[in-house]
Amino acid sequence: MNTVEIKNLSKKYGELSALKNVNLDVPEGTIYGLVGPNGAGKTTLIKALVGALKPTEGNTKVLGLDPLKDKWKLRRQIGYMPQSPALYDDISARDNIMFFGKAQNVPDLKKKTDDILSFAELTSRANDKVGTFSGGMKKRVSLCCALVHDPKILFLDEPTAAVDPHLKMQSWILFRQLAERGITIFVSTHLMDEALLCDKVTILRNGEILAVDTPQKILERGKTKMKILTNGEEKFSVIDSTPQSLASELKKFGLEKNVSSIELRSDNIEDIILAIVREKSKEEKQ
């Protein structure tokens, strides 16, 4: 079953098209990545899904509900973590979480808040004012606010932007734990390496979808560059990033005794995504 269904979604701001005919299905219980550079339309798409933005054209369904017409029903079932922490600096982490929890009538809110603070490893700072927190800790409090009412789907807009690598990895461990509990996670990022941590990825650029696939399939679109040194002579070739392609290429050489070394360098996910974006730009120019 799909938790999100988007059909022909477009959003225009005057002459500027922020989203162009987007079609997307998000399966239940997955971590779904929306990858693209800044200005690709990721935030606009998330805002359309949480009912904060009226699309110019198209239909969206989240958990079978229309984000605008059924907003009150839907808002009880979704969690939203915006790009900025969107917290009150003058009150404590606990009070911030409880404030957003109260709006959703969360039963036994105090216990729920304690549990969620412990899950995000924030118990020791629970009563400190958010204004004294680091950027990474604010992001975790923001995640707690989005989670306090046990949503079925969580929309995370660039949750790890400007976060140090250790905290970034910790955050992704948290996201995976949430997905294992059955929560669908729709996460946007401009960090290409994070695409590998998702179950499925959509690449967005200038409001347009360029590719939708699993990270493995996207990796396979990459090329492996080979440099073979034989009798002091360097030979270069480019093959597909699959074991079969490598075997086939090496057969040409018969693995002779004088092949002293084989060096491989495969495209990483960032190279591949940038290549897809470049290819699209080239197509558009032609």
């Binding site: 009150w72 808002r75 915006p82």
Partner: protein, 246 residues
């Protein structure tokens, strides 16, 4: 229910922001003290009673500060992203407007009491208890109108800087056209009409009537009606302009 949750959060936020509290309570008291210093420099004139300006100017200070502080706090909600998050998080726009108004009721009450009692004490004004109570109600009601005006104006501002152009548009004309300094009857007709569009005009009318030695409360009913009308009209306008979706 959500209205009370927001009001509670506004109050705990105000409590936690010491600079804001000082600005909203201590600043008006200091300004009134400066007013006293100014009036003391004027030569005694048997035809002019400077004390008749005291309460209207005190009311104006509350009006100005309540408006500007409320507008800036709500704009901060927008720039910080908490306003959008509140709406997506299940708070309706009416509960946000109601919560802010209710949260400021307390602050407006404290401001009105502090300003009124300092003015009476500093300027040695000898008013009956009934007069003081009516003056308190006028200043308090004006503070509520100012909060509503702040909420309404904040819907047009994307950041704090956008609030300031409204000061010469709304607040400064109040100084010259509402009877605070000169009788509006002596102004050109068009200026008098502009003055009548500003809420301070009705508050000043009530204050001028109530501080007369022999006053008639029934003469202030229409002006009280206008002030109440402002509260509801601004509440309605704010609910129209505060957008839940882009």
């Amino acid at each position: 229910m959500n209205t009370f949750i927001i009001a509670g959060r506004v109050l705990s936020q105000l409590k936690g922001d010491k600079r804001f509290l000082v600005l909203s309570i201590i600043a008006p008291l200091i300004i009134i003290y400066f007013l006293k210093l100014l009036f003391d420099t004027f030569p005694a004139n048997p035809f002019v009673s400077y004390t008749s300006f005291t309460i209207p100017i005190s009311a104006f200070i509350v009006h100005f500060l309540s408006f500007i502080l409320c507008a800036i706090l709500l704009v901060q909600e927008r720039t910080r992203g908490t306003l959008e998050r509140m709406m997506i998080g299940g708070f309706s726009k009416m509960s946000i407007i109601g919560g802010y108004t209710l949260g400021y009721f307390g602050l407006a009450t404290v401001q009105a009491i502090a300003v009124l009692f300092e003015s009476i004490w500093l300027f040695e004004l000898d008013y009956e208890t009934k007069t003081v109570v009516i003056l308190f109600i006028v200043i308090w009601l004006l503070a509520i109108v100012s909060v509503m005006l702040g909420i309404f104006v904040s819907t047009f501002a994307k950041h704090e800087g956008h609030v300031f152009p409204f000061i010469p548009l709304i607040i400064l004309p109040s100084v010259f056209l509402t009877g605070l300094i000169v009788d509006p009857a002596g102004l050109p007709k068009w200026a008098e009409i502009i003055g009548k569009c500003l809420p301070l005009h009705y508050a000043v009318n009530i204050i001028h009537e109530i501080i007369k030695p022999e006053y008639d409360v029934s003469a202030t009913y229409a002006d009280f009606g206008f002030l109440l009308g402002y509260v509801f009209a601004l509440l309605f306008l704010a609910s129209l302009t505060l957008k839940e979706t882009e």
